[in-house]
């Protein structure tokens, strides 16, 4: 009788909700959820986007290592590799600036993902934000969605954003994530819990130094690294478009497929496209919250101009997309750094990604971080 009265009592339920909120706050607290987790270093391409989204969230919600003003970089694999924090931080330090660089890039993310990530930036309060983009990051095609897993994992906000939710369940999910941090981070909390209970074999961290391209290929392709290096050297001796494709076929056949799909499905950007709207909202938010922002148009491999069949290139797209990005940025008074043509083809791993460290692009990023921060 007494138990039955405790079970249904409003007091019991009120207390239960209070306890659940407290327990949730403990689980999502800095010492519990936001410590580096072994799964962040995964090399498994089926898990890398989840892992990098957790890393970006940890950079935002975790304890700051020091009290220096923060410069955050938004972007995808282009800047994840070329702008790896230690590379850029080294250059920023060399320039004598008191700024801490944090790279919030996530593989495969597009303008919609950048915009959703920016909704969390108030917790990091960066002084400076570099939005690193390529025109294709604003595309929304089946093979190249403008937002993906990062946006779904980190979706918060009461009102619909620039990209409307995919049905009422998605809206409900977003409200749940907005209301309760435990629900917002429940996938991360589950992954962290799993890692703590059954610690995985921890892969080595991303190197802080690459001596040469062989080291890059060995890191990226493992057993196929030596073959990729041989094919890369063959292209260096005979620098034709065909040789470069031969090299990419060794270690990056799925990437080639991605680029072909992108070229096939792309069409010129227009006002009102989801990616354009997302960039517009992102820049408006950065300006409204007092961030010093700049857009960096990321380098493109000049070899694409030699594509004889147009199988991989999108003729005229780069310039028209840059013009569109420039118009959106100008509307918010955000400067655009056009670095599209700043690197030679031997500074690239493929058509999109500058070589980490060896391309030297970290110096350019550091210069922009310092310029915009000061």
């Amino acid at each position: 009788m007494r138990n039955a009265s405790a079970a249904g009592s409003p007091l019991t339920w009120t207390l239960a909700i209070a306890f659940a909120i407290l327990l949730g706050a403990a689980i999502t607290s800095r010492p519990v959820l936001w410590r580096p987790a072994p799964f962040e270093r995964t090399r498994d391409m089926t898990q890398v986007v989840f892992a990098q989204t957790f890393t970006a969230a940890r950079e935002i919600y975790g304890p700051p290592p020091d009290d220096r003003p923060v410069a955050a970089m938004l972007g995808n694999s282009r800047v994840w590799l070329a702008g790896h924090d230690p590379f850029v931080q080294h250059e920023v330090d060399r320039l004598g600036a008191r700024v801490r660089v944090t790279n919030l890039a996530i593989f495969g993310s597009g303008a919609g993902d950048f915009e959703v990530l920016s909704r969390h930036l108030e917790h990091l309060a960066p002084k400076t934000v570099l939005v690193t983009v390529d025109g294709t990051d604003l595309l929304d095609t089946p093979g190249h969605p403008v937002s993906g897993l990062p946006a779904r994992l980190l979706h918060i906000g009461w009102a619909d954003g620039p990209i409307p939710p995919d049905g009422s369940m998605a809206r409900l999910d977003r409200w749940g994530r907005t209301l309760w941090p435990l629900y917002r981070f429940h996938e991360f909390a589950r992954a962290v819990l799993t890692d703590r209970v059954v610690p995985p074999v921890e892969p080595p961290p991303f190197p802080t130094h690459f001596a040469d391209t062989r080291a890059v290929f060995e890191y990226m392709h493992g057993d196929r690294g030596a073959a990729a290096e041989t094919a890369y050297e063959a292209w260096r001796h005979d620098p034709t478009f065909g040789r470069f494709i031969d090299y990419l076929k060794i270690g990056s056949s799925s990437y080639l497929e991605l680029v072909r799909d992108r070229a096939r499905q792309a069409r010129p950007l227009r006002d009102g496209d989801p990616g354009v709207r997302a960039l517009d909202v992102l820049l408006a938010r950065l300006v409204a919250t007092g961030r010093r922002a700049a857009i960096v148009l990321m380098p493109q491999n000049p070899l694409l101009d030699q594509d004889p069949t147009g199988e991989y290139a999108i003729p005229g797209f780069s310039d028209s997309a840059a013009a569109m990005i420039g118009r959106v940025a100008a509307a918010h008074g955000v400067p655009v750094v056009d670095a599209r043509h700043e690197l030679g083809s031997d500074a690239f791993i493929d058509f999109d990604h500058p070589l980490p460290e060896l391309s030297g692009f970290q110096t350019r990023l550091a210069q922009e971080v310092v310029r915009v921060s000061s």
């Binding site: 039955a4 019991t12 306890f19 898990q47 986007v49 435990l182 909390a189 799925s254």
Partner: protein, 43 residues
């Protein structure tokens, strides 16, 4: 004529509330969501 149910002791209420809270948190943690799998083809 209804008889008033005797009030549950505070200890029973707190214990039951703690169990409910634990159940709520476990349900939220294991609620459907986006798992880790998302194949990245960019390399």
């Amino acid at each position: 004529m209804s008889r008033r149910e005797p009030a549950a002791p505070p200890g029973a209420i707190v214990l039951r509330a703690a169990l409910y809270a634990l159940a709520i948190v476990v349900l939220v943690l294991f609620a459907p969501g986006d798992g880790r799998v998302f194949i990245y083809q960019g390399f």
